[in-house]
Assembly symmetry: T
Homo-oligomer: 149 residues x 12
């Protein structure tokens, strides 16, 4: 399937359930940065490259579905967290909007429980970045910028 | 299990996640009618046969559970969309209210991804209608009317 | 795959094995109507809408294959009964004639033995109607009529 | 499920596909008696105990289905041979007539290929006798006689 | 993993989806007590032992996730109901707060559908109490009190 | 594998675990005869045909293994009951003594839990008789007598 | 299935294989109490509530089967230990006596090897208490007392 | 297993279900030759090499079984089509006649649906030729001729 | 996928690991011809039809990959031997060169160990010829010649 | 896990079920030495190296469990025979005593039935020696001696 | 597992089998850049950040194993291509050298054949970048640089 | 299968991939001896017993295949390392030379990843020695010497 797009301005970053407590607990797995710090850093980079970047966190599958299908944006970076493995609804939302999308994970999901190995969206996104801490997001952002030029 | 009921007045139609954008995207799969047009058509038919018909759409599993268990109605027509394959909670809600129910799907779920073949509610509803576009709903409505006479 | 057809005249209804004794035994599962009564009712409806409707019952897989591939008709309604779960030959026959087809089942096959949950034709027909007694056939007929207009 | 019946007169014995060549080939597996000799011996025993015994052999799944559902008899002894492992249609026929039934096999199906270990009728018959050569039939006949007294 | 804690004051009890209608329907499975009556009884016992006990019911996976991670408490008793079998998000929330937790079920989930046998949280809680009606909660409460002394 | 033997005198009947309470509980499954009555009836038949018949019941896997390998007999009839599905040791014992053996079951194990469908000895015995109540034993005895002539 | 019983006097507690060395080895998993201390504590509680409590430990599957079916008691508390996962014979014994039964485990079997997750008796007992150390037994005893009032 | 045979005269070619419409539909998969043209070509080649070649097509499993076991021939070339994947009866028929046999398929069955990958006869024939259109038959014929010299 | 090509001159035949000892060991499985004799015979036939034929044998997965992707030829006949079942690398090489290819096997791989039944290249070649000894190669060569005309 | 121990004196050798008849039957699989001869040979070697060696054979799972946990020894060599594949209780006993252990098998269990390939203790012992007849025991004894120096 | 390292100088990039023809075939999947161009670009970036970067391509599993274990470097970026799914040897090599490693893939392996979804190294590397064309490598290089500061 | 051989002189020891770095990395798993030290020790023992012993290490599957099939020796001791689990080619090589062979592993492969539990050669060698460090080799050597006397 051919995908092409002109230079555009807005990138949406979605954080899934339990990511609101980033940097507060289980730092050995998720690192010691908070979600606010991460969002700030991403926005700064986007701004330097002349993009608008919006961030969104929710613990609710339904709210994430609505954010994906009702927002206006040109590129999606999503860390579905626990919903990676269970949500067909988020898959359907991504399928329906047909925006270029990158899936990111902070921890290496292949080192954890067996059920975390299966992602319900990996086969419908452009690509996936896993296991590199907050770098996973930053690299995805560079890719988004690069791919839209 | 014997099920019997007298003539009653209200039919509830529930649309699951991502169906709020019906007719706007992926028309080759879902057809080009909007959810408003579909709801209107269903209400007209119900009215002609002297029934009240209420429609409800939500992207949230919890809201659908509550709609099923807290509403007042005599027959349920439900298209759980993505939640068909993942929601035990909706199954439990349907089980607990013990209303005659028909499951409908717009597209033929057997032509799509493997995981869409398993429905968590098929074995607890009266029957299922799949793959006939908006006709799936209309036939379910005819069945609801017929079965309540 | 695009499917289109003009208004046509003939609908073929095929009943699979053991349906010749409908209404005589296991009435709690299959209802108390006989196959003759059902065929009569279907023909009456077809006639009212200006269609020819032919019915055919066989306990032989080979005869059903031949009926599907050697008959002249515009729409197929088929209840393969036990062959639903085992016959690749019937699947191939339906594939080869390329007629619009609806699969029907009288009982809710999802409430019964595990092996009845797998249909070998669901993914190659337009759609499926399950569990609504003789209404399964009648709704399929309405769909056939509607879809050919 | 309670099953009870009064003394009756007729026992039907059905031989499935490939049993018409009994005693002619693969004698190390199936023994050296022909199907005619076996039938004769069974009829003699039945006659001594004042029963009528009818025998039937067919290589066609459809014919066996029809024999089961269209005949008049009080007890069924069936060796479905190869159809043991594949025929849902024969299962449905036995289910629909609700006659006491014993399943028999000449060879020990558990010593052969893996797929011969699954029988589609074992859970709906009274019992099963396997691996004892023509004795499998004779013991089933004694059981039929004993159980009808 | 060593777990130790001093005497503390607050126990949180979470009821998952469909439990708001306890005692109103399906009494043969869930008993005839309402959720209010159950909550009252639990609070009385906690009070006698000098504990604060808070109760919370929600049909929404996201709200339960937030309750678990944003509340202040020393011990968690949770009946995830339908989400037991599907929610990785609730598992992640429990993992991240690292509070001693007991999982409870009113009915014996091993007597029901196959898919209810798998719990996504059993391996990360202290223990599980299943099948004893409202006693499941009461025993869990005794354990919470005992274990905090 | 060719098996042949001359006329001999002793038949051993082994009853596995929980069969000591036959006829006392669960009569709907196992019938209302006690194990003593059954043993008596089997001995009478054996005596009429000039055979010695010894019976043995144990709830211990090890004792059954020793009975099989340390006794002196010409034919074995065994109902391993629960050990049918779990004991490789009994399988090994039967393999090592190389006596003609028939496996019997009182109830139809195919109508019960899934795990009862697998027998660890079916592929190493002459044949199996299942589901015919105490007739299962009596028919096995007739077969033993017949096969030794 | 409705279960009801009047106030009765005797509770039987069965400890399965390897539990005779409780408190001597692997204290991190099983705690540091010995089986004698545990039995004493249970008897004291039973006595306070006016019950007789008998305890029994065996490493032999056959002896446990016999204890279950040959003893006289009103309520069974059983920790089958390793036999939880392998013994159909103990399942059959519990099924045959039809006494109200609670299954207990000292450690959380869901945190250990995969094969320990399957219990062969969970679906035939009233309920299960897992992972709470000696409290698992004590809570089961409270339940036994409560349920018999 | 050693197989040897002298020069003989007759080759039987069996075409399974749905092959009677070869060259009429789905030409992209099966090519544009009709079964009559194919049969003619095969007969011509056989005649040039001094063999008799008989062809047979049937949609009935039972008829194919009978053709295999009741005909007189020296070599079998069979395309079981849909029955390749489901017919234990045809397998048994081929086993019982013990003639050298080659299995052929027109299309590459490994490029199609998953269930077409399993053949129930591949392990009992001499060899298999797949995916080469009508050449599959012609090469099989050359092999039959070569192997009988 | 449409494949078409004009008359060309060169056919490459690749023999996988362990085929260099053809005719020296395990003659009952692989026949008594050596690889040199086979290569000679194939070259003679190719020469008669005006083709160049190159042969290549290697026990190294890497060398075969390189041969496939670095050579110049119009048609590939390959017997990957043991690598049939394990080499994704050879699959990728064949995919990347996009030459018409036939897979051959000397022995009937369906009669041997279970793991030999899965070929990693069957679904990407034109077709497969199995079990006919050196005829497998010769027939593949005829097909290559025929298909290039 | 680091294991270290000083020079000690006693080695325990346990033989599982059916090994009491070693050398009497099935000599082609198990060799023609008796268990007494084997025990004698092992004791002689132990004595030469200044060790005490005790041997124990039982057909009872419970007795083996008790021998393992109630005896006094420094090294365990165990051939669990049939219990290798079924006994979690023996696994638990070995786990609880924490003695260095070697698992031995006389025959090559990988050449026999599929279910013999899974050992329930292989992952908790030091190592395993399989298929070398009585040498399996002797080599294990040498290892025990070597590892304790 | 804690991993820490000081600023170092050398990054090794390994390209697996069939990547030597990058940009020459199947451009729709792999893009139109050659491996030389890609290597050049990576070296330029590394140079700008003051790192040495070595590249290596091989079609031989053995050579890659040796490169990994015999080279001198501080960080590994590897695209194992086809060996991703089959090579335990490469996994072992990476495990043994204990260097920080990132796995990259040019195409989205989740959109391709099922067997490409399983990577044998994902659980032992720091992280994985998939599906972003040559950007996959460039982002991995940025991560390597960032993580070593 | 009977195996017998007279006293001979040469034993070949093959070390698979990654074993050339024994004693240099991962010492906790593989011990701290180097491959040279191990080889020296094995040669000394062989010499004392009057045998020639050759050792060979390779990371290439093809080279190991060739070593096995082209060398001259009387007994093979092989540690296939990673190829244990994937190499059908090595299996085929061992099968074709028909030399007595023992498989050895340094670490206990049953304590490691799931995929290491399956060996592709265990069922075709004399026996296997696993988990005893360098003793695995030494015991295999003793067995080779003993078995050739």
């Amino acid at each position: 399937m051919k995908r092409s797009w002109k230079k555009k301005n807005k990138i949406l970053v979605i954080h899934g359930p339990n990511l609101h407590i980033l940097g507060k607990r289980e730092k050995n797995i998720y690192g010691d940065f908070t979600i606010s710090e991460l969002n700030l850093e991403l926005k700064k980079i986007a701004h330097q490259h002349n993009y608008i970047l919006e961030t969104f966190q929710s613990n609710s599958e339904g709210e994430i579905v609505e954010k994906i299908s009702n927002s206006n944006y040109d590129f999606l970076i999503i860390n579905p967290a626990a919903y990676t493995h269970t949500s067909v609804a988020i898959r359907d939302a991504i399928l329906s909007v047909e925006k270029p999308t990158i899936e990111v994970h902070i921890s290496n999901i292949y080192k954890r429980e067996e059920f975390r190995r299966k992602s319900l969206i990996s086969d419908i996104v452009l690509g996936t970045i896993t296991g590199l801490g907050k770098l996973s997001y930053i690299l995805a952002l560079y890719a988004a910028i690069k791919l839209q030029k």
